[in-house]
């Protein structure tokens, strides 16, 4: 943009920088506050004097959180869920996007297939029939209940199919001439060439599996099968001290409910916070791709 040098412009710049920086601060401060509380002593947190820096630095809350069996168990289930869920979902996305990226001449019923998938974005049976279907298929309390019902992310399919369409046709024709079939062409040419898009979609899938909590909450009858985010939902938001052992209650006396909750919140956010700086550019790219195309 072309620069001007009036006083008004200078004032505007000061205002603009101040506003934007405050907005960034507003997005970050709550998280720093929670971190500070989680690292503070029980007394300081209860007195409400902790702001953005821990008072009487202690790791007791984290020790308490990490010593809880249910916490570690749910963490393990979340890891399993992210791994299985992402692999299944990415495989399906690729396998659906490739045929749909073909023209109607090359794939009979292409439009019919495409509408079959797109219709699920437009209309849904609602929560209760969805729940009943999963219950009837016997998936309740199984890790597959967290994977299969949402295994086909239609928006991601659309994203990837648009990317596939952008690849030069000649590559595929050359592969056919060399005697490759569709399967080989997909894995040897389309997938390697689409790695940036696939990585971006994969990242979004990982994040959404890590963050999903509601399905775990209703599809798992036993708390032992909760993934971490569902477990955190029950203790951070619903908050119950009822199902604690006597020993845990004794330990809790030296830490406070508030510092423990803060520690749990922070641990739940940590994987995303830790990866975010490195993966941010992929997220931005995927975002722009998704926002403009689908």
């Amino acid at each position: 943009m072309v620069e001007g040098k009036s006083l008004g412009l200078k004032l505007f710049r000061i205002f603009n920088y101040t506003l934007l920086i405050s907005l960034a601060v507003v997005c970050l401060v709550p998280l720093i506050h929670i971190l500070a509380v989680s690292l503070s002593s029980n007394v300081a947190a209860s007195a409400g004097i902790v702001k953005l820096w821990p008072k009487d630095l202690t790791f007791k809350s984290y020790a308490f959180v990490l010593s809880k069996g249910e916490f570690l168990l749910s963490l393990w289930i979340s890891v399993k869920r992210v791994l299985i869920g992402t692999v299944v979902s990415m495989l399906l996305t690729i396998l659906i996007a490739y045929p749909l990226s073909k023209s109607g001449r090359e794939l009979k019923f292409r439009t019919g297939y495409a509408w079959y998938f797109v219709f699920t974005i437009l209309f849904s049976g609602g929560l209760i029939p969805w729940y009943m279907t999963i219950r009837t298929t016997g998936l309740l309390d199984s890790i597959w209940a967290l994977v299969l019902p949402n295994a086909v992310p239609v928006f991601n399919v659309i994203l990837l199919l648009n990317f596939f369409r952008g690849l030069p046709k000649e590559l595929e024709e050359a592969a056919f001439v060399d005697g490759s079939g569709y399967w080989k062409t997909l894995w040897r040419i389309y997938v390697p060439l689409s790695m940036p898009s696939i990585a971006t979609i994969g990242l979004f899938t990982i994040v959404s599996h890590w963050n999903s909590w509601f399905d775990g909450l209703i599809l798992m009858n036993s708390q032992n099968n909760y993934p971490l985010s569902s477990y955190l939902q029950t203790i951070i938001v619903q908050s119950s001290l009822t199902n604690m052992s006597a020993e845990q209650l004794k330990n809790l006396a030296s830490v406070s409910d508030r510092t423990v909750k803060s520690a749990q919140i922070f641990v739940g956010a940590l994987p995303i916070l830790a990866c975010y700086p490195f993966l941010q550019k992929y997220f931005v790219k995927g975002m722009v791709l998704g926002g403009v195309k689908g």
Partner: protein, 299 residues
């Protein structure tokens, strides 16, 4: 020449098969299951042996005094979210664009985009803490200006706005980036020409920047029409309490409570079907409009 027969196409159809089966089971069967809305559904009897009750479930719903309040809450919260979810990111994108390429721009972008990736469970926990009337950081801050503590999550006057504002707080960074991408695509020579013609910054923004991103603004506005009944289940569920049902209970939370807590499956399905049908109409209209106005295609 390539053979175009069905046999040659077979691998493509096979690739689609697993996806088609899964979508059939977990999307289409539940749609059929929607007929539970016309039954007194009992899980042990199943869909085929439960008693048919005609429109009883709907009559019951529409006679519930809560229903109209909840419908109003849903539309109110959703529309406010749509409006602020458009205005705030567009404004911030224009302001960020004025900063030019700099470290500040990159940092601001990175930080405002962050909350989008955290779930409402995490952010719900954060908000419950910082909005607390007794020890919450925000009320302590307001205390400096001698404002009395506000019970943001427990006061019916404040709750809907708390929901809208915190949703904007979580999501504005995400949308800002979309608009920012559109802004960088505006032809720079237009600005140069404008300067030669003596246009100041304000005029440049008004006559070049905004028209430049108008297509994407129109597109986003049109597509958001489909969300009029989506007030945000994940968020409301993690922040509300019986104290604020009056102003904060929305269709999705009501469906959850009637269905999965009270076990009135038929009634909850009826409410779900009511919502799905209206949403279906709205989303279809919004896609159709987006296609007509902005030549937008889903696939």
């Amino acid at each position: 020449m390539l053979k175009k027969g069905f046999k040659r196409q077979l691998p493509l159809h096979l690739m689609l098969l697993p996806g088609i089966v899964l979508v059939f089971i977990y999307c289409y069967i539940p749609m059929v299951g929607g007929i539970m809305a016309f039954q007194k559904f009992i899980p042990s009897k199943g869909l085929f042996h439960s008693k048919w009750v005609g429109l009883k479930n709907f009559e019951y719903l529409f006679s519930m005094p809560d229903f109209y309040q909840v419908l109003w809450n849903t539309v109110f919260i959703a529309i406010l979210k749509i409006i602020f979810g458009l205005i705030v990111p567009i404004t911030i994108a224009i302001l960020l664009n004025e900063v030019g390429k700099s470290v500040v721009k990159r940092w601001v972008q990175t930080l405002i985009y962050l909350p989008h990736f955290l779930s409402w469970v995490i952010l719900g926990g954060v908000l419950i803490d910082i909005l607390s009337p007794s020890y919450g950081l925000l009320n302590q801050f307001l205390g400096i200006f001698s404002i009395k503590p506000i019970f943001f999550l427990g006061d019916n006057q404040w709750f809907p706005f708390t929901i809208v504002l915190s949703d904007v707080w979580k999501e504005f960074g995400f949308s800002t980036i979309v608009y920012l991408a559109a802004l960088t695509a505006v032809n720079p020579s237009l600005y140069e020409a404008a300067v030669i013609d003596g246009a100041n910054r304000w005029k440049q923004t008004w006559n070049i920047t905004i028209p430049g991103i108008l297509p994407i603004i129109v597109l986003m506005t049109t597509l958001s029409l489909g969300n009029v009944l989506n007030a945000g289940f994940d968020q409301v569920f993690n922040l509300y309490s019986p104290l604020v049902y009056e102003s904060g209970d929305i269709l999705d939370t009501l469906i959850y409570r009637i269905g999965l807590i009270d076990g009135q499956y038929g009634v909850a399905t009826a409410l779900g079907l009511f919502k799905s049908l209206i949403s279906f109409a709205l989303v279809s209209i919004s896609y159709w409009l987006a296609y007509k106005i902005a030549d937008y295609r889903i696939f």
